[in-house]
């Protein structure tokens, strides 16, 4: 394995393996949903592949028309990060919409509950079930 004798490759490999282990651990402890892990696994597999077979980069470079192979790697890395960021924004938007819907439902349920339970001091100036501590 002459490739591994060049100084950069063992480092890349170690990083990739560590990332893989970290991903597995996150999945095992259920901190990461499986649907988000696919992309990261793909990235790591790509990194490992490039580490073992650097010729892929050279071949891809010729295909796309980029002169320096490392630039292609950078471009790809940026693209991956961009896609991940966009995906996270989408997920946040979905979560916000869910949170909004839930908040509305909670508020409506609380109103319904307050209407059904007769207020113990109805008619008085004190409101029911408030955390604010209204001056009475």
């Amino acid at each position: 394995m002459s490739v591994l004798e060049q100084s950069g490759y063992p480092f890349a490999l170690v990083v990739a393996v560590l990332l893989l282990l970290a991903l597995f651990w996150l999945l095992r402890t259920q901190r990461l949903r499986e649907k988000y892990s696919v992309l990261w696994f793909a990235v790591i597999v790509g990194v490992v592949l490039l580490t073992f077979v650097p010729a892929i980069t050279g071949w891809l470079t010729g295909l796309v028309g980029v002169t320096t192979p490392i630039n292609l790697v950078f471009i790809l890395a940026f693209l991956v990060l961009l896609v991940v960021c966009i995906q996270l924004s989408i997920e946040i938007s979905t979560l916000e919409e869910s949170a909004r819907t839930v908040a509305e439902e909670v508020a409506l349920l609380r109103l319904e509950m307050e209407r059904r339970t007769p207020d113990p001091d109805a008619g008085g100036p004190r409101p029911a079930g408030d955390d604010g501590g209204a001056p009475s």
């Binding site: 908040a103 509305e104 508020a107 409506l108 109103l111 100036p125 409101p127 408030d130 604010g132």
Partner: protein, 256 residues
């Protein structure tokens, strides 16, 4: 009871007041509504206020729906429309909590619903005076122009939060009431027009704001123009919302 609405029966009216930190004015607004329209129910949607808005509103005799955190007018109003739909109200009137909207116009707005699904209380349509200059004015003119064409009627003030809605409008807004920037006013009208609701406007006079003047800095006005155009563009190019024919049934929403 939500079956066939009897056209002869008096309309059940719900006045929805979205309020965010309006303890100084919401009490007076609620009392005034109750005096002007004694047969209407008043629902104050407390949009995550940090002050005594909900207490003041309840003491003034309103139903109070407290959102756990601030959602913006869009979220507050959708909660109001959902409540109206579930409780089977015929008409929802939206009134601001800051006292700008003259409650005396609630009745004309509701009467105008005879020939429309949504009636907007429009400022600076002759009756009112609302100073707006420069980019802000252009933005409003542009919004009004586009929405007028979309709604096939002349609309001069599409950013007004003073409006009345009938059952058809309530059904649409209970599911589609945007929370985006300008979503509560402009985009909701786009949604309504594309759902084939009939929109009309009635001229109203606004009162001076109870607290604070709107900012007139040119930078803000320019930002408003840009955001308004963006919001309108997005609203117009969004996929058409399906008009849910099913009434008053709660489904899980569309977030799945």
């Amino acid at each position: 009871m939500t079956g066939m609405p009897d056209p002869q029966a008096p309309k059940r009216v719900l006045v929805v007041v979205p309020a965010w930190n309006e303890q100084g004015s919401v009490g007076a607004v609620v009392s005034e509504i109750r005096k002007e329209c004694p047969q209407a129910a008043v629902l104050v949607v407390d949009d995550g206020s940090g002050d005594l808005t909900s207490v003041v509103a309840r003491n003034a005799g309103a139903l109070v729906c407290r959102l756990p955190f601030n959602l913006g007018v869009g979220g507050a109003m959708r909660a109001g429309y959902r409540y109206a739909q579930r409780e089977g109200y015929d008409v929802v009137v939206q009134v601001d909590a800051d006292g700008q909207h003259d409650v005396g116009y609630v009745r004309p707005l509701i009467e105008a619903l005879g020939s429309a699904d949504i009636v907007i209380g429009a400022r600076f349509a002759g009756e009112g005076s609302y100073p707006a200059r420069g980019p802000r004015r252009w933005a409003m003119a542009l919004l009004a122009l586009v929405l007028s064409r979309l709604a096939h009627t002349r609309l001069s003030d599409v950013t007004s939060g003073f409006r009345a809605t009938n059952r058809r409008g309530i059904a649409v807004f209970a599911t589609h009431y945007p929370a985006e920037y300008l979503g509560d006013t402009v985009e909701s009208l786009v949604v309504a027009a594309r759902s084939h609701l009939v929109i009309r406007q009635v001229d109203v006079v606004m009162r001076p704001r109870a607290g604070g003047q709107p900012s007139h800095s040119p930078a803000r006005a320019a930002a408003f123009l840009v955001r308004a155009v963006l919001a309108l563009g997005l609203a117009l190019t969004r996929p058409r919302p399906e008009l849910s024919a099913a009434p008053a049934r709660r489904d899980g929403g569309w977030a799945g």
